[in-house]
Subunit: 341 residues, 2 copies
């Protein structure tokens, strides 16, 4: 077959430049650049004005032109705490699949160190990575280490980075937590406890738990929420504490699977039969969740889908399908009902 | 401080060239090139002569010069079946740690497809990867897809690639299997069965099992070795089969942890108490091995160390610390005694 359609030159609409952004926001192009690159501090009010102008004008840094420059490495870097954590391995696989053969996947491990993260991001940009997926950013340390060089597309996980050109992928773990607790209530649980993470972490999971109980007209007494430390030992200790109370729970929602597996240990020690004596739900769906006995009801984090979405967001910018202001992709988490609920 | 030491030009010993290799092996440089690149078939006898000459002359392709050329990507590619398999995630982490900040780690997933592997290797070389770690090669398909462009260092896992310039990292799983069975015998087991992989795979594990029994003066009846398919369901079915026999085993060595966890399922169904009624050992030390109950005795694959060693072998060639003929690193596997043995 011969393609006989005429050659059509696509019409490019007049595109906003950095000068347009400066004019609309009433600042210099240097200031716009400082906001976009994050290299210099800019007053919050000015920053807001610039970000509003970027959104309004659909300002789009020239990624496609950048790609045509010599020096593109055809690599997308993914910065993770540790690739041996199955969540990040799944995420990296999703990213690689989304990128296909267009871009290679460059894995960087921070071990949760902000200093190491900063160094890695510097290396990656200096060596010409075409895009960056930040899966390592802590909520607290975000501002400090996030690369916002506006000519390299950046995608971050969660809501840790607030920048008009940094796309975001968010897992709806609050909604998932609510549906997990609704599931426990629908099976007859009336005194639902939660083993959460440390006080400063995983707030949306705790909020989902509380919302579900309030909507069901159940009480949410403070002593039914116990802080754990994400470990198996912490989960075991937390369940022992809960079961010693004068009014022990008939169901427990754990903020991760390792703590739920620790709670299973404690339940065995206390001769509790699951789910008859106690219903239990974890979070993450790690491999062991289906392998322990009884098999753990849990919530699957959309790790693969997160990586896939991040890859698509980066490709959209690199290949000119999206320009300008930030997009946010919210992914659902699935409840996986097994034997403990 | 000022460095006042005189500038010393290192003396380079006369280095063998491809012409020297051709002369010593009595063939043309084109034939040497065919042997080294693998691009054209060469008669086995000729190939052996060329490989002997490469070893004898310590022939070293000019990696360091290559590195100085424009176009080095400063990336090492690691080709794995699937990064979400924890073994390959650990391996990739070990590789990244060995490479440090000198080179980035480029992850490629083949899903076990020889066609996809060939395509990825082609992409990776075309885009200027500085080295290649082949962790995906099947024993059967090895010859077909292995890149042996002699100017890019290649490291492979196991003994699948036989090429004078391809370094190898091998896990001593036969020795580990022997020590696992010795451990079972030392605890009193006399009828040790094995749940192996499919007949064509994991031969060194079966050999280690048989050696240990023979050395202990125990019989190795054929019906005590049952082929599984690496899955949990396969392990469960295999244990049921073994326990139905007229002379059931008092211990079982499984060629991987998933089959051992399936055997645990069957043991529970048969009301067997471990280790009193049956001793059980797996292989791999997956995360779930320590999380199931009773916790599984198993053998830890040196996944991280394998990646680390592969990285060091590649760096040695890229940074001129090793030249010429192939090196083989053999890594031990550790027996991890938990509750099932």
């Amino acid at each position: 077959m011969t393609d006989t359609s005429p050659v059509v030159t696509p019409t490019t609409p007049g595109r906003a430049t950095i000068a347009d952004v400066a004019r609309v926001s009433g600042v210099s192009t240097t200031t716009v650049s400082h906001v976009l690159t994050g290299k210099r501090p800019v007053a919050a009010a000015t920053r807001d004005r610039v970000q509003a102008a970027v959104s309004q004008l659909h300002y789009r840094p020239n990624h496609v032109a950048r790609n045509l420059r010599v020096g593109s490495s055809q690599m997308i870097a993914v910065v993770v705490p540790d690739i041996t954590n199955p969540f990040y391995a799944q995420l990296t696989r999703g990213l690689a699949d989304a990128l296909g053969s267009d871009y290679g996947t460059w894995v960087c491990n921070t071990d949760g160190s902000a200093g190491r993260e900063r160094q890695l991001v510097g290396d990656v940009l200096a060596r010409g990575a075409d895009g960056l997926v930040m899966a390592s950013v802590e909520h607290d340390s975000a501002g400090a280490t996030v690369p916002t060089r506006y000519d390299t597309p950046v995608v971050c996980l969660g809501e840790s980075i607030d920048h008009p050109l940094v796309d975001r992928v968010i897992a709806a773990d609050g909604e998932a937590s609510r549906s997990a607790v609704e599931h426990l209530v629908s099976r007859g649980a009336r005194r639902v406890a939660m083993i959460s993470g440390p006080a400063s972490q995983g707030g949306s999971r705790v909020a989902g738990y509380q919302e579900a109980l309030l909507e069901a007209g159940l009480r949410v007494p403070k002593f039914l929420t116990v802080h754990g430390d994400w470990t198996r030992a912490g989960g075991r200790a937390a369940l022992h504490r809960l079961m010693r109370s004068a009014h022990p729970p008939d169901a427990v929602f754990c903020a991760n699977d390792l703590m739920a597996i620790g709670a299973l240990d404690a339940a065995r020690e206390l001769d509790l039969t699951l789910p008859a004596d106690l219903r239990l739900i974890g979070f993450d769906d790690i491999e062991a969740a289906s392998l322990v006995s009884p098999a753990l009801t849990t919530i699957a984090n959309p790790a693969y889908e997160t990586g896939w979405s991040a890859g698509k967001l980066v490709l959209d910018r690199l290949q000119g399908r999206h320009s300008g202001s930030r997009r946010t992709v919210v992914l659902p988490c699935r409840l996986i009902v097994r034997e403990t609920s």
